[in-house]
Structure formats: C-alpha cells, structure tokens
C-alpha cells in the first residue's frame, strides 16, 4: 500500500483500469507514452459538447461566450499550475512537439544565425533534436549535443564547456522519457542566461509528474503535452516569457491571429492569440483544465512522492535480474518513474508481446530517442513507466512476467 495516498480510490476514477486484456486485469505501465483519463476529464468533454459547443472569440451569442469563458478559464488554470503570472503567456498547441516547432519557427529562425550555437543533450526526444537540426542547418549554426555519464545523467562538465558566448539557445528535457534522468534545469537556465542565451525546457515528462514552476526555474520557454497528464490527446502548451512572446513572429497565419487585415497586409493580434491561428481545440483545452484540477487536488508533491516509492520498489526488485541491463540513475531523487531495461537474450518486442499476454502494457522500441539508443550500443529497450494509479502489486506482476519471459527464452519452459 502506498504511504502517500489511497491508490485504490484513485483507480476507481479511471474507467479503463477495469478492462481485462487477454484474460488478465490491465496493468497499464506505458504512461510515458500517454496516460489514461479519469472520469472527470471524459465527462468534461461530454459536458462541453452537450452543453456549450460553439466557436470561441467569434460570436456575441450565449454559447460562444460561454465556450470562450471555459476555454480562457482553462488557460488560467494552466497558468496557475505553472506558477506563471499572466495567462497570456500560455499558448495552446497540439502538444510538446508543436510547441517546440513554434519556438523554432517563430523565435529560432529570427534569433539564431550563422556561427551561433544551439545546445541540446544526448537524451532528447526526436522532437527536441530534429527540430534544432533544421534550424542549425538552415541558419548555418552549430548544434552541440551534450553527452551523458555512464548512468545516463547529463554530463554537467561537458554542458558547462559547451555553453559559451556563441550559444543562443539551450533546449533540454527536464526529465528523459527514455532513461528517466531528471536534469537540473534551474542550474542550466542560470548557465544559459550567463552567456545571454535562452533556455527551452521540454517538460513533456516533468510537468505531468512533479511540481514545475516557471518563475522559480526562470525558463524562457516550456513545452509539454496534455495527453501525458490525464488530458485528451491533441492539446498541449507552450509557455514563454511575455517579452519574448511579444517579440516573436506568428507561427501560422489565418483567422484569430490577426488584428486588422487589408488586401496586401495584416497586423497581428496580441499574445497569445497571435500564435493561435484558426479554430482552436476548445474541448480538449477545457479537458486539460479538468485534468489539472484533478492533479492539483491530489497534489503534485504527492504524485512525485508516490512515483518515487514505486520506482524505488521496482529498481530494488529488478536487482534480482542479473541478465537485465537497467538504464538511468539509481538515485530516485534525480529520476522519474521510468524503468528501461534490456536483455541480450530476449529482444524487447518479444518481452512486450509476452507481457501483453499477461495484461501488462509496456512500451518497446527506441522511444523516439534513436541517438541515445545508439550511444548505449542497443537498438531498443523495453520500458515500464508509472503514474498516479499504479500499484506495488502491478510491479510485482511485471517482475514475475519478466522472470517467466527470461526463463522461457532460456529454457523453452513455460
């Protein structure tokens, strides 16, 4: 039993956890890919479509005004959740990927030029690597990739060496989706600011799992996705400091982002609408607001404490598997609830298939971090990842299933 909160009570809020998969209760351990949704969030979408649905910012009729209020109030919830001082610093996007691309196109192409440098790390998700490859190539800038230490934490000495006066942007994940390491982003932000660079924090794996305060971190940009934090798919956020947003060009052109339009020119709406061209994803933004209400009720500190308990327990249980390599730091104060493992005897896909037979959902593959896999000398891992509704019992099932799998592949006995 968790010491932090009553997990069984929480589980009752998630209808999908009642499912059986191949005759077994579902153990959903693929939260780093996407989380499940509580009834509150699902109900909030139904409620929106049944009672408020209409376009926002566009009409004087009641429904449009109500929808706009709900939509803008969700923005306010995100802003409070992040500790931001102004809801207008919250830009809706489709997810972390779009948020990072928005920064690349609207800020990067204007502020990064020939001879400048961009710093990323070896543990970035493709979305925070490939995007900067584009900017670096087009602008003739240098892309510096900071290596990792032997337990897959960021090599802070190399990081310090790579941040010099040429650097215009440090773009780095707060927590790694692939090896779980949590990076000291506050310190990295300070280092970036010392040389006049900006910092983008990819919060896709931190915002859902721990308290994140943009003022405390002093980050210039923060990107994350709703679907990894109990909200619907298709909604995400870019937070940026107000003065930076003001200085940026629009990302896409269309309705809502303009102030005045002539045949040959247009002026831009104020932030954040300047970056939100076209009809937005109203329902899912409101759904993200509902997810934030749910998470706040439990408390982000409690969620982090619960995941530390689970991860400590799992790491200790995994010690019994000599034939498994487990990646990431063992110190859970610098590790998220992510457990990647690899065996030279059983391919991750085979592990994934057998675990699925037992109702256990994990992710296998490169986790959108191919360069990281290459640096580890492997092509794929199996990865279990935890969230608020996971239990010690599910970890026991995971461990038993892995034990069966390893035995089966080494002896052929079921």
């Amino acid at each position: 039993m968790s010491k932090v909160f009553d997990v069984n009570k929480i589980r009752q809020d998630f209808p999908i956890l009642d499912r059986t998969i191949n005759g077994n209760n579902l153990a959903y351990l693929d939260n780093a890919s996407s989380s499940q949704k509580p009834r509150d969030v699902i109900q909030c979408l139904v409620d929106y479509y049944e009672n408020y649905n209409s376009n926002v910012h566009r009409g004087v009729h009641t429904l449009s005004m109500e929808a706009t209020d709900l939509y803008e109030s969700a923005r306010g919830k995100v802003s409070n959740f992040l500790g931001a001082t102004d809801p207008n610093t919250v830009v809706w996007t489709r997810g972390a990927t779009e948020a990072i691309n928005l920064v690349a196109f609207s800020w990067g192409f204007k502020n990064i030029g020939a001879g400048d440098a961009i710093v990323v790390s070896q543990m970035e998700h493709h979305s925070n690597l490939v995007t900067w490859q584009l900017v670096a190539t087009r602008q003739k800038a240098e892309l510096r990739v900071v290596p990792l230490t032997e337990n897959q934490t960021l090599d802070m000495e190399s990081l310090a060496d790579s941040i010099d006066e040429k650097v215009k942007l440090v773009s780095i994940c707060h927590a790694s989706n692939s090896v779980g390491s949590i990076n000291p982003v506050k310190e990295i932000a300070r280092k970036a600011h010392e040389v006049g660079a900006k910092i983008l924090i990819d919060g896709a794996q931190s915002v859902p799992h721990m308290p994140v305060n943009v003022i405390d971190l002093d980050c210039d940009f923060l990107a994350f996705s709703g679907h990894k934090m109990l909200a619907p798919m298709g909604i995400g956020v870019l937070y940026a400091k107000q003065e930076i947003l003001e200085s940026m060009e629009p990302f896409m052109r269309g309705g809502d982002m303009v102030l005045e339009v002539w045949n040959d020119k247009a002026t831009w709406n104020s932030i954040p609408n300047k970056f939100e061209a076209g009809t937005p994803n109203v329902a899912d933004a409101i759904g993200l607001g509902a997810a934030i209400d749910y998470l706040t009720e439990i408390g982000m500190d409690n969620i982090r404490a619960h995941e530390i308990e689970l991860t400590d327990y799992a790491l200790q249980k995994f010690n019994q598997f000599e034939e498994l390599d487990v990646y990431g730091p063992t110190d859970t104060s610098i590790r998220g609830g992510i457990l990647p493992f690899h065996s030279e005897y059983v391919h991750p896909h085979d592990i994934g298939t057998i675990l699925d037979q037992e109702g256990i959902a994990i992710r296998t593959g490169h986790h959108c971090t191919m360069p990281l896999m290459r640096s580890l000398g492997i092509s794929a891992t199996a990865r279990a990842s935890f969230y608020i509704y996971n239990t010690f019992d599910e970890i026991d099932r995971l461990v038993d299933a892995i034990e069966h799998t390893l035995r089966y592949f080494s002896t052929g006995k079921k």
């Binding site: 391919h347 085979d350 298939t353 057998i354 296998t364 593959g365 490169h366 092509s379 592949f409």
Partner: protein
C-alpha cells in the same frame, strides 16, 4: 500462453541456420523495419542456376530471426523462380489469402510461422525476411 513462440520458432530464434559467411556472394538483399530497427541481410550464391548456399544476417526480435532462418532452410536448392513462388506463398499465408493454386505444403517448415498470425502486430516481423529475399533476387531478371 505463448502460442506465438512455437517450439520450432524458439529453436530457430536461439540457433538460427545459415549464419556463416559465403565465399562468393552472387546476390545480396537487405531490409530494415524503420519502425523498430530490425534488419535482415540475405546473401545468396548460385550454382547451375539454383541457390546452393545462403548467408543470413538478421538482427532484432525472435520472430524476425526465426523466420529468416526458416526461410533460408526452405529456399536452399531452389532456383530463384521457385524461391520467389515459395516467398509469395508464404506472404499469402501470413496475409490470410492463400489462393488455391498456391499449395501451402510447399512452405515446408516455414509454415510454422502461421502461429504469428494470432498476433497481428508481429506479422511484419515475420515478413521482413521476404523483403530482403525479394531485394536479393530483384536484380536477377528471372
């Protein structure tokens, strides 16, 4: 529980056949599954128009390794036309459309891969070797 991992599949996954390098390679083919990184290389050597030796270099999951190995067992000593017919039949079997004029029995031991059909997501693992074979024979103008 593990219907997917038929005894024969497990055996070929653990100790695949045709893993030795060839002295002369007459034709070579390659396939990679971009999604998961699994890959297969098929090297062929011919004598009197038949496949008289094969080297398989496969990396990845057990289904990929076992199917590549079983494929090699079955295409050895065939001419490329018959090999292609066998591969077409195997693909039809895995895609659940075996026409009457392609009797399943020509597949020999490769037919055990049929158990993979219960796991649709893994069928592509069992078919990667066929792409490598097709790549190897595509330049032969048969």
């Amino acid at each position: 529980m593990h219907e997917l991992y038929h005894k024969e599949i497990l055996k070929h996954a653990k100790t695949p056949e045709f893993t030795s390098q060839l002295k002369t390679i007459d034709s070579s083919g390659y396939a990679i599954n971009q999604f998961c990184g699994d890959e297969v290389r098929v090297n062929l050597s011919f004598r009197d128009g038949i496949i008289n030796d094969i080297h398989i270099d496969s990396k990845g999951c057990s289904i990929n390794i076992a199917s590549s190995s079983l494929m090699a067992v079955e295409i050895k000593d065939l001419d490329p036309n018959k090999g292609t017919l066998l591969i077409d039949t195997y693909k039809s079997l895995m895609n659940s459309k075996i026409p009457d004029h392609q009797p399943k029995r020509i597949l020999g031991s490769l037919a055990v891969m049929e158990s993979v059909k219960e796991f649709p997501i893994r069928i592509k693992c069992a078919l990667l070797c066929t792409q490598a074979f097709e790549d190897a024979v595509s330049g032969l103008h048969i």
